[in-house]
Symmetry: C2
């Protein structure tokens, strides 16, 4: 871990600092001797680094904190990482709701807040709802805004690296919106914007249906279907951030849209009316013939989209999410059809995180960012913004 | 580059050796002083390593070789990498032909040999044809079989990491064939088996249409269509080696096979009759109405397959290959249709390597393997097999 010789002394100090933080974070608390042993750094180096980390508020001496009874002789001082030294937000901005998750520097969730928002709301109104949700969440948790170290955001659309929405048809005024820049006005820390399906993929991998799989596709099986994928445990965004935007495939040839497929009348459903979709699924489960036919058509379309993703990427696992309810009925038919058409059919599982997936993934992306800054020990230490 | 301290001394020696080889290979020839400067190693270390490399036959002293006239005083000894110290083969095993490429350790092609083979030939016959081609190639080039360091092979089908063909419908007896093991009997060096479209992708990236693009998809637009893709310059094989096997997509829904689409009669073409395909393309170019209609149907099908790949992966570039001739007519319609259906349309280019793509990619994979053994300096040095 350690062992960089020569070169920039401030870089070296930063790396040593990351090494010590990394070691402390992996344990409850540790003595200087233990840190020296684990990191391979010299005792004086460890002492200097720990002193600096205490000054920065990232480490605390445990005895001092707990007032532990001291045994005879000079006791061994014990130190721990202060996960409460900073906080992170994971935000979702969707068609029907905005949501926020708050965590400490260990990613432990401290609170959540969600608000409904009208699907016709313009960008200003939608962002104002989000700001209100965040303010309420911070107040309730007793966390100061200045304590935030990074904010992750998941939202529909193709998102540029600078946080601009290149294309986003699901939300009004979304295409072209400088979302990262707009949100940055509310926060002093970095704001990282990500496509919602990508964020959901990261979330299911972190604490959902895909914790055991590094090669997975997360399908948001909504009326505007999209997908996010991890390859070797890393998010695959594509060259222009558009990977997984499989929804356009139905425009080719004679296929029709999910809105038409799922309709039980001659009129298509509204593209964002997921309530109507849930009703169709519920009716189908009760045996309604038209609803069953509609569900069948929808499943065929979903099979086609998922098959295209699976054939292109060959993931180990496909996670289906994106609906509040009603999707469990699609799993069996999906598995059966994929087994027919795919040379190596993947496992298929339902999202574990459900509604919380996008905000949870956004939180994980914020945590990744902070970890890269504080704990990167693989030679590259990202400079603080 | 250098600077590993402590630890296994033989590992350190191997790393230093790789560092010196790496430096020598990047230049025509170099003095010990130059090597010392470039590598950051000490003079005695460089001297020891160079001596060892000379003994191993990988490095030679240039003056000794050329008998150069020595100037007054002690001349600076110059050393060069011996690319001729070992050789590599890139092999293609296809439905209609087998092909072999021979190179030195710098990847410089020294000779090529191809042989037609009947599409109905069984595995034994096909491999025998390949062995004959290889034997002729080595004899013609005057290269001993014992000089081979690695052999790459590209062939249709899903190929396991151990060289077994898990599924290969294009060639008789191919599914289940332990191809790597079979070929290993003819060679003492490692044999690396790869899917043909994957090999072609690597080839176009190395010296074809994709030298400027690390995020590309190579579409083998044959009657059994398949694709290989590079993500961030690395081959994306998928979890089970089946990535890009997009051919099954047409089995879904109402779509029909290329054999039907391209037929100008009511009878479908034979799945492997690429000559018939070339004739249809040629007829279409002459203005034949039925051939034009057939070509049009085929292009629509190709657009759908390519769109599925592009939407899933979002590559920067799509390279179309897999036919000997006739494909240039599909580029414009493909570009036009992708621009309609893809959120971020990729560039579309024709294969530069054509027929040579698969064997060239197989050669590059063999070269990668040897480079990993000889020149890996990023901390991990793969042990020699």
């Amino acid at each position: 871990m350690a062992g960089l010789t020569g070169g920039d002394p401030s870089l070296l100090r930063r790396i040593n600092s990351a090494v010590v933080l990394h070691a402390l974070r992996a344990t409850d608390c540790a003595t200087l001797t233990e840190i020296t042993r684990v990191t391979g750094l010299s005792r004086p180096t460890v002492e200097g680094v720990v002193e600096g980390l205490i000054e920065a508020g990232l480490v605390i001496e445990k005895a001092a904190e707990e007032g532990a009874t001291r045994r005879q002789g000079r006791p061994a001082r014990r130190f721990r990482f202060r996960a409460e030294a900073g906080h992170l937000l994971g935000l979702e901005i969707g068609p029907h709701r905005v949501a926020a998750l708050l965590s400490d520097l260990d990613g432990r969730v401290l609170g959540a807040q969600a608000k409904d928002v009208d699907e016709t709301a313009d960008a200003d109104e939608r962002l104002e709802r989000l700001r209100t949700a965040v303010a309420e969440l911070l107040r309730r948790a007793g966390v100061a805004r200045s304590s935030l170290r990074a904010v992750g955001v998941g939202t529909p659309g193709i998102v540029e690296a600078d946080g601009r929405v290149r294309l986003g048809t699901a939300l009004p005024e979304w295409t072209g919106l400088r979302l990262g820049e707009r949100l940055s006005r509310s926060f002093k820390c970095p704001v990282l914007v990500e496509n919602d399906a990508n964020a959901a993929a990261v979330a299911e991998h972190w604490k959902g249906a895909a914790t055991e799989s590094d090669d997975m596709v997360m399908v948001m099986a909504g009326l505007s279907p999209g997908a996010g994928s991890l390859i070797g445990g890393r998010l695959h965004r594509g060259y222009g951030g558009a990977a997984g935007e499989i929804g356009a495939l139905h425009l080719l040839g004679r296929e029709v849209t999910p809105e038409t497929l799922l309709s039980t009348t001659d009129e298509p459903l509204h593209p964002l009316d997921e309530q109507a979709v849930a009703e169709v699924f519920a009716l189908a489960r009760k045996g309604d013939a038209r609803a069953r036919a509609a569900e069948e058509r929808f499943i065929q379309r979903l099979v086609h989209d998922v098959a295209a993703l699976v054939l292109a990427l060959d993931p180990e696992l496909v996670v289906i999410g994106g609906w509040a309810a009603g999707l469990d009925g699609v799993l069996e038919p999906l598995r059966r059809e994929l087994a027919r058409y795919c040379l190596r059919p993947p496992r298929v599982a339902l999202s574990v995180l459900g509604e919380a997936a996008v905000a949870t993934g956004a939180l994980r992306l914020a945590l990744d960012h902070v970890e890269e800054q504080l704990f990167a020990v693989d030679g590259t230490v990202t400079a603080r913004r």
